[in-house]
């Protein structure tokens, strides 16, 4: 049990998917302008990433490995993720309309979120067991949400500040992300 907690902490804080491993930067810059959208995106990523982590692990272990098809991993995973996102979208629309409304537009965006694909590949590369993969998927996604929400908070304040013209919008966003990343850097060596 202790191992899992350690693994979770290292994924959320020390190896934060966004600020230490640079995965998922596009939605990070795109959806962090408002707190609401940041929370929506964070929730959607947690939801999809846990499912994608589980399914891709099973596919790797029971389909690709036994038939020596590892070289098809990239294409198999991206197809799984794309169809999973579509499926989740349809399922939520029918059964949990409230959640669907909340996540709404963020769900389709997740297909091209490299954090999802990245974590699935990390799970395979590190040779995690099924349970470990579930733990890492959930904690990486939580780390993503955490960074996104923190960053959205900072960005809402920047809107009120006077920023030099050439630095406006994305440029100042990136510099701020650098500062936030520096803060997360302090966790290095904790685990």
């Amino acid at each position: 049990m202790g191992d899992y907690i350690l693994l979770a902490i290292s994924c959320v804080l020390v190896n934060n998917i966004l600020l230490a491993q640079y995965l998922g930067c596009c939605p990070f810059m795109g959806t962090s302008k408002k707190m609401e959208t940041a929370i929506g995106m964070g929730m959607a990523v947690i939801f999809v990433l846990v499912m994608a982590g589980a399914i891709t692990w099973l596919i790797e272990a029971y389909v690709l490995k036994p038939f020596n098809l590892e070289y098809l991993r990239t294409i198999a995973f991206i197809l799984v993720i794309a169809s999973l996102v579509q499926f989740v979208e349809m399922f939520l629309r029918k059964s949990i309309p409230a959640l669907y409304k909340g996540l709404g537009i963020f769900l389709p965006l997740i297909t091209t979120n490299c954090a999802v694909m990245g974590v699935c590949l990390i799970n395979i590369n590190e040779e995690y067991t099924f349970v470990q993969s579930l733990v890492t998927s959930f904690s990486y996604a939580t780390g993503f949400g955490l960074a996104l929400v923190l960053f959205a908070g900072v960005r809402e304040r920047i809107l009120l500040a006077r920023v030099p013209k050439p630095l406006e919008d994305t440029a100042i966003g990136l510099v701020t992300a650098g500062m936030l990343s520096l803060a997360f850097f302090a966790f290095k060596g904790m685990v």
Binding site: M29, T74, I75, F77, I78, T112, P164, A171
Partner: protein, 197 residues
Amino acid sequence: MAKSITQEFVKGLWDEIPPFRLVLGLCPVLAVTKSVENGLGMGVAVVFVLVCSNILVSLLRNIIPSKVRIACFIVIIATFVIVVELLMQAYTYALFLKLGIFIPLIVVNCVLLGRAEAFAYKNGVVASIADGFGIGVGFTLSLASIGALREVFGSGTFLGMSVFGPSYQPFTFMVEAPGAFVCLGLMLCMMNLAGNK
């Protein structure tokens, strides 16, 4: 569509240079630019995939039904990514190890999907090749320039050669994650300054 082939090529180098003008495909830009070599390697891989996928998408543009086009693009891109992955594994193994999971992640690089959707699906083969090559070279140039900046200050070397001599104390902030964000932000600012003259 009166634009010449040269114009299609040149626009990728300045007017629409990713990731500065089109803020797409940020992840590899931040992750693999610790050194010039990594940046160039990644750039070349992207050029290859982009040109090939543009050719195929443009050839098949009348056959692919528009409802499932995104899925088709993804399959086409993924195929070429696997080709690149296997080629790099065979011929440039050291670079393959350094770039790690970022090679398979070219699949989810929005630049590729963006070009397939915005250009290759609507234009002929020759124009698509020019577009893919231009955007790809632009992407490579940006990766290499960020890589150069980070490598020179962060480790005091350029392509592995020492720049400032042995007494230089490397500014390690630049090669770590925070440096990547700040560096890209400041370069974007420079581009804005230069573009608004």
